[in-house]
Symmetry: D3
């Protein structure tokens, strides 16, 4: 009878079991006195464990010639405490096979991911569009862009690093922004009834939902996380997002001014040229989306800095994605 | 029987009536061929009407020797259309007297003011503190600072120019910010339950209410609007607001970390040093207040730019408080 | 027999003649002692002459009620020297009629324009594409974009102000840039034969020709010169130029990498974010176009500053489009 | 008979002696072939000497379980030259005991410190205030702030790094600045007798003495040098220094304008927002203090860069606190 | 008997007298109703008085055809109060003649000038060099540069505007800076005796004296004040000052390192590239001169802002050479 | 019979031969278990090969006591593949002797160098000056400066790092820039015939040739590549280049305006103060040289980045001399 399949991150010390894992590191190193070895590591979404492969190991040949970073493996192994921290002891190892899906293998299981359910987030987003966007052609445009890219959107991260850089991070971030947009659109429309033309709440909500849609083309998922595509580097998600909207809008009877305001929201949502915006927000709608977006991104970064910083003392180091210390609490 | 007292801004063309007005302009000018005259103007909160006082006018001596910009007058006059636009024709004019208050005179009636009722805004702010701030000493601190400065806060503008630069503009802005803070504190506390220490919602709300409290010392009201005090120029409301909080907190049993977080909110709410913040937001609470505040200020500025710009075409001039064009609508 | 039609800019002092002109200014003014009048001016491409219309003039009613800035008129008038410089004396004036085209009326005749023949510049550009771009689908794309927009391109200015801000200024600038691109592409391809992949000369030339093509959508011609469109302000020619290329490329068999490099040239040609480039030049091709473009624009601005500056002394004022003094010559 | 107590920095090679020292480093390392050891180091104010503690050492258990970085120890040891430079050979080691003070132990003896006598510097500062500040209430305020914080001020460093970052560095820096202020106040008062109001020399001197007084709250001394307090990070010494002055001034009969000028000196002494000043110097007094302060800080940094840089050649590396090379001398 | 020659600035109202004055303004204007006239003004170093010359004035022809701004005139006139302020009534006017020097005419008498005696300042500077610079060749270099340019240096302003922009302003500024340099060189040499190589006090003093010597070539005096020369605009005093030193040093036995340090002082004295320094201060000597220079310039600007600002209230306008408000005094 | 002298870079694996090489690295290291050794490396212009010298090696004493980085050696050795890559096995080694020149030793043979022949580049530059500069005195000045510095110019690199940082890199860069200048001078002179004064083509060409001439004094060659001289660091090549021109021009009959324009070209060629230009380009000539220079430098940097970057994927890392990614090709 085979050992049970247990997630690597749930393996008890000394417990031998089968699990699926991503080869996340393989480096050829040598000790100062010239002894060569490989440093390798395997991970699932919660935990990474490494080990050395010495040249006299029975795994040495396979490691050198066959193991590839970014591939998935099925291992039978246990985790042992050593002087150098926990290490794997591998009994068996082979590449993933198609049939492993039956036992629950899923490539995304080996990457960090959102704490929220992707399907639920997607459903809430689409429901928001359906309920809140009054203009029928614009509503349909937003819904269609989401439905047409459903598969990719479900796992897309929001970035390669900085904020929401994990599986389904895009949905988590965009949903937060959209919820803020619904609230703020309502609030400011009510506050300034004399604004002429009035605040276009449809555009605020559509803009919240689509401001980062260019990530679909800027990023591509790899086993090691998201990477920039060639066009993502040379053109960037700000322009690519507007492309997606324009392409989807072609041939639809969308009010030209609404479309223009929506395009403007996308290209101005980073506000300043040096922050990545070709134009600053020049409409009330664009203003709202910038603030809703930037707060959500920075809040997430600050949470991550607090979770990851190893410093002692009342504040974190300033070497982090925010480039500044974050207060950890205490009064000394 | 005296003519009825009618607000200047409601005077019909050609209608002669009594009204109270502020002398808002008095300049000694001369025509190119040397003919001297005074250009004067009177205003109430909605409308300003000017006229020339020629040297042979029966009002010339009083105008030269007695009329003072910033003083209030009771006039009997009518507004006539001329080639140079509407002008006043003055029948009688005298300084305000104490008894005019009975007929409804109020100095604030001659300055631009908030569209919202100051008492109601004040009441909502204090009620928010009482209902939303859970920590008793902090709650009492916030309430006391407001109650102790009630009279000034009721009419304080938020600035001398830029945003909410009108009577009760401070309350209008701070109330908007506080409402956003209540919403965002709730939202982000729920989104990140694992944040350690947890988001201090009390500090977010107290911070929203007190972030601009230093305006009490930075600005002083004059008949012509708000002006900077000496200390306002040399020290500034960011530091002065923290002073008010520290002075009020002295001798109270406020948790030191809560107080420190609140002080930090105030000094960091403008985010970047070149925007006026001695320190950047280093706590999740400070982050929220910055965004709630900046969006409300910029939104108000954009509304004002749209209302005041005289340009034709699809966008306003870039010569405004935002330093950029604002889109007015249309697709050409 | 009617007076001969003579260009306004060729009218001798005191000569009465018929001419076509643009009403370029109409302001209602008053003297300090209250005498109202209109200041008006008429211009052709080389010269502008003004005059006052006093309220007792036989033209006063027509001026107030009918004359519109930006409209074209046929005048019979003469230019007289006065204490206030040359002024028009108008005998007859009426709006342009269709039949005036027969006598040579052309709206562009009243605006400053390129010293070079638009048709010849256009022909040279298209010929350059045909001769120099080796890749057939890319060549055809470039030619088609030009041919399809031929009418507009013939008169388009390069900008509303700053450089080449006159009729056909677009062609003049783009032709200069393209010629430099041909030279530099040849030069650097030869200098770095080992570059891998090799410099794509086709992209350099196509990029030179299309880098500013978005001006077609950013600007619209008016009688008073070019103005920004709504989309021009909210989106901008950098992005709109890429749109034009992408729309024209749709359905053609263009090599995807060539197209990507061409798009990148367009969006990076202003080099720095604060100069208007969403991305910096990240390809050798984009680097060349930036330098060819910027030199041509700055050279034209410097020529214009030298021609227009009224200062005495060895250098011009620093209040000009370049924001710095320009040396005029001399050693003192 | 016990070995004599000799400072570590005066131990001859091979000499065994007793000394007091700070454990300044303790890291758990392993050789590439897996042999674990601790790298530890001990220091006094002039010298730091390290050694490895191998796992078979008799000190291994104490090192792992008991030794703490930042604690002080009494050691009996000698310094031996090895292939890896000088290393300690430890015979005995124990934590400092109270009675060690009798043999001359003082925690500050293990940190780098000023070359000047702290008591003398403090005395000169207070004497300067007494002799040079003419206004009695202001003079008393300055003296009292110093006397009340005498103990802390005697050892406070001026910073955690950059300039005067050593024991008593605060006094050394502030005394230098104050001396310059006395000179410059005299000089500029004499140069501009017509200045109205006249230069307030009292404020210049008090400002020189108090500009950095907030370091008392921004920094806290630890065995390893100064560290930022929580409030130091979130509020900063610029604001905290003004707090100290305001708190001390409360209830005294200080001229309000003098106090305002003094507060302004403190908050503006770093001149530009991006250098840490909430307001720029807006008084002649503030101007003088900025220059006296900045020159002294930069001069000290340049001296330190020259002393510490290891590069060959005529200039130092640019990787130092100044961010630029410093000239070392020579002409090649 | 001729009227006494009295300085224009000492003329009592209504007193008729002879005086020498500079024609500082002549503009051809017209009233709105077309009446042409000239606005002219005459000044001495303390006062400027204007008048209109109407076309029917007996002076009209001479004014139009002969009077030249920047020329000096002898006038017999009186100053009368008018509705438009004080105006001149001219009886006689002629160009200055050589013989007027006997009656005390001096072109510099009509420009604003230093409050200090130029000869005395020059003498003190040269004496400082002789007494304080120990190295003989360097001392002689400094003395010679001054003696060789004595005539120009006596009247040179320090700038065309901003600081010390008046006759002999150069000497006033350079003397102030040199005095500070003497003090600071002494102070810092004493403070850091271990600096290696030691602070070169000779270079500090020579640098203080020569840091702005390039003004000799950057500026040229005109009747209307200093103007930039062609080379002053294209090269600038920072480089030109180093040229003067290098040219004077050629063929002298000056220690090469001393000369290099002196050249570096000159080119780095404005500290940052955007403030005009090709290199930042990289020597202790250069650091001292930057601070001594910048404080003196900014102090002078602040004094001038306080003297010239017309605003009411506790602070000046921010529209001045400093670009910021200056505190005028008071606490409200 | 001695082994043949074969360049190190042409040695086959296992082939034993004599060769000349530079000792480019010598570091004293120790393994983690304390075994000391030296890491050394030898290089010629194309290849660098290292080896360890263990303490029991027969070369150990010579290595420790005699070998000096930057010296040249004649070796007899072979290159062997090892687990740590190719390593040298040294049979004999001695310092270079004079007589080695006969066998073809040349110090520059051990440094990276231009792909172009230095003599030919030099000849083309001088020929360009002779043929293209019409003004005889200016032409002679340019030729003389080159001929007088011929020996140094033949090998000078253009920089210590960034662009053209290799032997003869100066000539390669300057020749490229000069060729562009010839082309652009011709082009813009023809385009703007009405420019007044006309474009001075002589100055453009002379400026192209001399813009970096100050590198002669800023840099000095060492065995390890170029280093900054003391004056290079404290003054810089921009000013030093102008010195060279001024010194060479002294006593020649060069038109002063031509010389001034040429000096201005040199000091403005880096355009912005923060890029190293004391003055921005204020002449048409200076404008052309800036663009020709900057394009050539950036193009070379981009080529180097593409050649050296080790990253996978469509773009290079952003950690390079350009500080941004460069596109490598591909569309994914």
């Amino acid at each position: 009878m085979p050992a049970a399949v247990v997630p690597l991150s749930e393996l008890a010390e000394g417990q031998e079991a089968d699990f699926f894992a991503l080869l996340s590191e393989k480096q050829e190193l040598k000790t100062r006195d010239g002894k060569p070895y490989f440093r390798v590591a395997f991970r699932d979404s919660q935990r990474e464990v490494g080990l050395p492969i010495w040249s006299d190991s029975p795994l040495a040949t396979a490691c050198r010639n066959e193991w590839v970073v970014g591939e998935f493996y099925k291992l039978r192994a246990k985790v042992q405490q050593t002087n150098f921290g926990p290490q794997l002891e591998i009994r068996k190892i082979r590449l993933i096979e198609k049939s492993d899906a039956k036992e629950g293998f899923d490539p995304n299981m080996c990457l960090p991911m959102s704490r929220f359910d992707a399907e639920q987030m997607f459903a809430e987003l689409v429901a928001t569009a359906k309920e809140q966007i009054e203009d029928a052609p614009l509503r349909q445009l937003v819904v269609d862009i989401h439905e047409d890219n459903r598969a990719l959107l479900l796992t897309l991260p929001a970035a390669t690093r900085n904020h929401h850089a994990f599986v389904s991070g895009y949905l988590e971030h965009v949903l937060n922004v959209t919820r803020s947009c619904v609230h703020l659109a309502e609030k400011y429309a009510e506050l300034y009834p004399e604004l002429n033309p009035p605040l276009d709440k449809d555009v605020v909500i559509a803009g919240g939902m689509l401001h980062d849609i260019g990530k679909l083309r800027e990023l591509q998922s790899t086993a090691a996380g998201a990477e920039y595509t060639a066009a993502g580097t040379l053109i960037g998600h700000v322009l690519q997002g507007r492309d997606i909207v324009r392409e989807a809008a072609a041939g639809r009877a969308i009010d030209p001014e609404k479309l223009l305001r929506l395009e403007h929201v996308i290209i101005s949502h980073q506000r300043l040229p040096e922050w990545g915006a070709p134009k600053p927000p020049m409409t009330p709608e664009a203003l709202i989306i910038h603030y809703a977006d930037d707060l959500d991104a920075k809040f997430n970064m600050m949470v991550a800095v607090l979770a990851e910083d190893k410093n002692d003392g009342p504040v974190t180091s300033r070497r982090n994605a925010l480039g500044q210390p974050v207060f950890r609490g205490g009064t000394l």
